[in-house]
Symmetry: C2
Subunit: 199 residues, 2 copies
DNA sequence: ATAGGGAATTAACCTAAGTTTATTGGTGCA
DNA sequence: TGCACCAATAAACTTAGGTTAATTCCCTAT
């Protein structure tokens, strides 16, 4: 799998959002990231001014609060654009790390150079806007689920949305995605199993 | 205050995100909304395919869950673009209502016509992308505050972010913004007052 | 083969917030 | 003037989830 192919996967992915993008503007240099499970694309606090494209694998966005609580904000499956919108656009340090849940492959390029080149193209901007709309809507839904649903229901939804993950991903990380402690998740799983058995 | 002035306020607002927007493309018809406190721009479940611009006043985005829990997702002060990104772009019914917290003035136009006209212009698309980046980042921060902070801390932050609102806005609504019941908020306020008195 | 370390489970206890119900306090309206 | 209604508070009780600590299980490295 060479760089050209990886780059083409990125282009194919973005074309999905808008078909008329002038990719001849895209000239910036590409970095390659081969991640082993547990390795990071970048860490909370870094200047994460690059745009990453996850060619294969699975990553999670996680951040640690002042009090040391770890929280998995988001889980992203390839193929997908990943990175910190905030860090890229405002130039502030990233508020989360991106960590490989499974071995993963990604490419990246400096956001400001890439954006400068591509923002000349209307097609790209339309695609980018659609991408932003999509991730915004996802965030709204996640917020709503945190507010309105119980931890049990959020776990069941997690199993529905990522059926391949329970078993693969450590339960601590699943718990942190749901917003609870691993102990609470363990209790919830026990209760689910029990009520399934008694039926 | 006539329509032309209200439209100009919208244009000024958007120019803030990008200065080179070709507003001659903007030809669609404008509706005017004069809202008394408590009235709605649209309601949860409506086809909210319009973009609204809040010229003056204050609104809240609120949604009611299956179980009848009300939650205030967001509070917007004029001048600001408001509306449901999801309902506009996907054409699905709105998941929240927009309600005037104080008497407010807004204008609106059909999103699809507006977008079709304005998306011809690169400057507009850059402004729109920047707008989306901004609201996405705000959502990320709100999610983080829900997960990592206690209700008490979220209340204190609310008072910091909207110093004019405690006293103006009913406490039920403040509670629903923080994600707790009015009873819980009342308890929290009592505890704060008490610990302030004992100091 | 075994010792050590992390992951998951379980139990006991604690705390924040929800629920129910009752009381107080304004505000508007007859 | 007083009634009615809603907002806010308060008290009593329940519950979900956090915290601490002990136990088991499994995997890896020696």
């Amino acid at each position: 799998m060479d760089r050209l192919q990886l780059k083409q996967q990125f282009i194919d992915y973005f074309n999905q959002y808008h078909s008329k993008i002038d990719w001849s503007l895209f000239k910036c240099e590409i970095d390659l990231h081969l991640l082993k499970k547990g390795q990071h694309l970048f860490q909370q606090g870094d200047d994460a001014k690059r745009l990453y494209f996850l060619n294969s694998g699975l990553v999670r966005y996680c951040n640690v609060s002042d009090k040391g609580k770890e929280y998995t904000q988001s889980i992203a499956k390839a193929p997908r654009v990943v990175g910190s919108t905030r860090a890229m656009t405002l130039g502030t340090p990233a508020l989360f790390s991106i960590e490989a849940v499974t071995d993963s492959i990604a490419i990246s390029f400096p956001w400001d150079i890439f954006y400068q080149q591509m923002s000349q193209d209307l097609g790209f901007m339309k695609a980018y806007a659609t991408f932003l709309e999509t991730i915004f809507i996802q965030k709204e839904l996640k917020e709503s689920s945190i507010i309105h649903l119980s931890a049990t229901q959020r776990y069941l939804n997690f199993c529905r949305d990522f059926p391949e993950l329970p078993g693969t991903m450590p339960q601590q990380q699943i718990a942190s995605y749901i917003g609870i402690t691993p102990i609470a998740l363990s209790r919830i799983r026990a209760r689910i199993k029990e009520s399934a058995g008694s039926r």
